[in-house]
């Protein structure tokens, strides 16, 4: 992601979205939302809102004291026998991991699904050094086999049908696989079991870092997170600096929010708590703390709330835009509403300025977000950055749009021109008019009429209102005579 320099063209990407991907995406997100609604109802709507509020406050407190909590994490992890590394950017993070691996002659690695690992493009770097890295989360294993990228942050293979997965397993694993999820899962289990047992290193991300004790918290449903962090002799966790939370009380609140928001479970199957090294566990524990643009986001008072994100994916599931285009249209590691914020924040609006516009500002995401990120607010903030620029970036909007906006402002800003415009509209539309509608308009307005006709300009309300007032006044006058 960091090396990618091409501008992300959401429109072009969305045109290329395959109908099959979109259908599979909708099918999965609908199920996820239904389950989520059921567990939230069981928890109680009112209590849930209190929980969300607490989650928001915890994350805000952690972010606004991030320097102290990071120092606390470093101190506690070191005291518990772990090593802490700091990576300013993706390249440094990759170098640290590669260094650890080559120093120990590591040949095979088991990995726990991690968005940060995708963000720093770790797998290709490992492969380039001849180190085999196995993604062990089932969905991530599938997309890795397919040579693809995850299309959803918690459900990487959400866009694929069981038939596609079966065909993929037949081709890549050389087995006879039926399109039955249970059987496909069994194939993955058998394929990966020996890798867990033989790996020289386990690499994970982390859901949270509990500053109070320097504890890394990883949740997984499949158990791959536990195997990857307990069997290999070395465990490396690459974690974004924003993942720090103050204490265990905070962890209790956030775990409740996370499981219910991700998959509609009351709790994730496994929550693993790792504090440095332990008897019977890996001999070494390395924590890589990654900045990669996060401290810059932190300096932005509006956008910093995007860092509250706990990566549950609920905003994507509920987003009507994501549901029409699938994850790939966002052209980056983070998709949906969270992607429309994080991608331009990490890559700049010059490359990703189109993403904040890939939203109708309908607010469905903010309504579900477990840590109450004001997503539409941040999207507006980034739209402004793209158009007007701010202290972080200069504007990237094409001049022609700027000129059009200026003209629009002048016309709409003057009652005389505004009314003249309305009258001219009525005159110019005459040849295009079919009854009450304008079925097709010239560019750029054909972008509207390609989907549905535009209603004909009507106007006349002010005149009607004036006449009516006058008539009423006259009637009243007569009454008083």
């Amino acid at each position: 992601m960091t090396e990618k320099t091409a501008r992300i063209d959401f429109r072009e990407n969305s045109r290329n979205a395959s109908p099959a991907v979109v259908a599979a995406t909708q099918n999965s997100t609908r199920t996820a939302l239904r389950k989520r609604a059921a567990v939230v109802a069981e928890f109680g709507e009112e209590r849930w809102q209190e929980l969300r509020k607490a989650g928001h406050e915890i994350r805000m407190h952690a972010l606004t004291h991030l320097d102290r909590y990071l120092a606390m994490v470093e101190e506690k992890v070191t005291a518990a026998g772990g090593y802490v590394h700091w990576a300013k950017d993706a390249e440094e993070a990759r170098e640290i991991v590669l260094g650890l691996a080559t120093e120990r002659s590591v040949r095979s690695i088991v990995k726990v699904k991690s968005m940060v690992s995708e963000e720093i493009d770790l797998n290709p770097a490992l492969e380039a050094r001849g180190i085999r890295a196995y993604e062990t989360d089932l969905g991530e294993f599938i997309v890795q086999l397919a040579g693809q990228r995850p299309s959803h942050i918690t459900s990487p293979a959400l866009h694929m049908t069981k038939e596609e997965v079966a065909a993929l397993f037949c081709e890549k694993l050389g087995i006879d696989a039926c399109p039955i999820p249970e059987e496909l899962t069994e194939h993955a289990r058998l394929r990966l079991r020996p890798e867990f047992l033989n790996a020289d290193m386990g690499i994970s991300g982390g859901n949270f870092l509990i500053a109070e004790t320097g504890t890394l918290l990883i949740v997984t449903n499949e158990g791959n997170g536990r195997l990857s962090t307990s069997l290999p002799p070395v465990h490396v966790a690459v974690v974004g600096i924003e993942k720090v939370i103050p204490d265990w009380e905070s962890a209790a609140v956030l775990l409740k929010l996370l499981a219910r928001s991700v998959s509609g479970s009351k709790i994730t199957a496994y929550s693993t708590f790792i504090t440095g090294v332990r008897e019977g566990g890996p001999k070494e524990f390395h924590l890589v703390l990654l900045d990669n643009g996060r401290s810059r986001i932190l300096a932005d008072k509006v956008a910093r709330e995007a860092l509250l994100c706990i990566r549950c994916g609920a905003c994507m599931n509920t987003c009507p835009v994501y549901n029409q285009v699938g994850g790939y249209a966002y052209g980056a590691v983070y998709q949906g509403p969270i992607g429309s914020m994080l991608t331009p924040l990490l890559l700049g609006t010059g490359l990703a300025g189109g993403l904040p516009f890939a939203s109708t500002l309908c607010g469905a995401c903010a309504e579900l977000c477990p840590v109450m990120i004001p997503i539409p607010e941040i999207l507006l903030h980034l739209r402004k950055r793209f158009v007007e620029g701010d202290t972080f970036e200069s504007p990237s909007v094409p001049g022609i749009l700027k000129a059009m906006a200026k003209l629009g402002r002048i016309v709409l800003g003057s009652p005389t021109l505004y009314h003249l415009g309305g009258r001219l509209g009525k005159i110019f539309q005459a040849p295009l008019r079919r009854g009450d509608w304008l079925p097709s308009l010239p560019p750029p307005l054909n972008r509207w009429t390609m989907a549905r006709p535009f209603p004909a300009f009507q106007g006349g309300f002010r005149g009607w209102f004036k006449n009516r007032k006058a008539a009423v006044k006259q009637a009243e006058g007569k009454l008083h005579e």
Binding site: S359, R383, V387, P415, P453, Q458, R468
Partner: protein, 244 residues
């Protein structure tokens, strides 16, 4: 006697004058005196939400000037425009400035049509009759932005003969989204078509869409689909069969 300032919105004025006329007739029937601040044009939302915040702010100043020296509530047939004035204006100007003070004052006066009827006038039954199966779409800014959910329902439930029927994803965005519909027309189209499909599947004869932008979008979609289902503003339903 209650007096209101009509906030007709640029979309309402140019594309839906009939809705505005019916709104005036309904309000007058309920004993409300309507006034029309002549200098109003657009509230600035299309600019502001497209990232042109400076232009949006200039439009907001204009709008505030048009309404500042008037009295009574400011009522609009749009939740989106109301939400913009109510929530965005006060946040648009520097803390403690005269502009912000003015924005906060105006924000306290502005109401969407159904809010005004149910919460201020305390009426739900205005004698309308519409003996049809009706589905209700929940426009995003009205529902989630302003939190107006029960008011339109209360008004619809009081309409004679009206059978309110549920439809799938009635709270999902219709794909309008202002500038979104022209920046990403294909996605907007797909969202609108999903909305139309759900409306048609419900078996409704009419669908209530109380938001000018969404109304123009969904109405156009139904026309394009050659459907006979009518997309109507709540005001248009309330004006049916009454004594106007």
């Amino acid at each position: 006697m209650e007096m209101v300032q009509l906030f007709i919105t640029c979309m309402g004025e140019n594309l839906l004058p009939d809705v505005l006329k019916k709104m005036v007739l309904l309000l007058e029937r309920l004993g409300v005196r309507c006034e029309l601040p002549e200098a109003q044009t657009c509230c600035g939302q299309p600019f502001y939400n497209s990232g042109f915040q400076a232009e949006g702010r200039q439009m907001a100043l204009r709008w505030m000037k048009a309404f500042a020296d008037t009295g009574g509530y400011i009522v609009a047939p749009s939740g989106s425009c109301v939400e913009f004035v109510k929530h965005r204006y006060p946040a648009m100007f520097p803390e403690g400035s005269a502009e912000q003070e003015r924005a906060v004052r105006l924000a306290g006066r502005v109401l969407e049509f159904s809010q005004f009827l149910v919460n201020v006038l305390k009426v739900t039954d205005i004698g309308a009759s519409f003996p049809h199966r009706v589905a209700c779409h929940y426009p995003c800014h009205l529902t989630r932005g302003l939190g107006v959910r029960s008011e339109p329902l209360a008004l619809l439930r009081a309409v004679r003969g009206l059978e309110l029927i549920p439809f799938d994803e009635s709270e999902t965005c219709c794909g309008f989204g202002g500038i979104f519909s022209v920046v990403y027309p294909e996605v907007s189209k797909a969202m609108m078509e999903t909305k139309v499909k759900n409306i048609l599947a419900s078996g409704a004869e009419a669908v209530v869409v109380s938001e000018p932008g969404c109304l123009v979008n969904i109405r156009g979609g139904l026309v394009k689909a050659h459907s006979r289902v009518r997309a109507m503003h709540l005001i248009e339903i309330l004006a049916e069969g009454g004594s106007t």
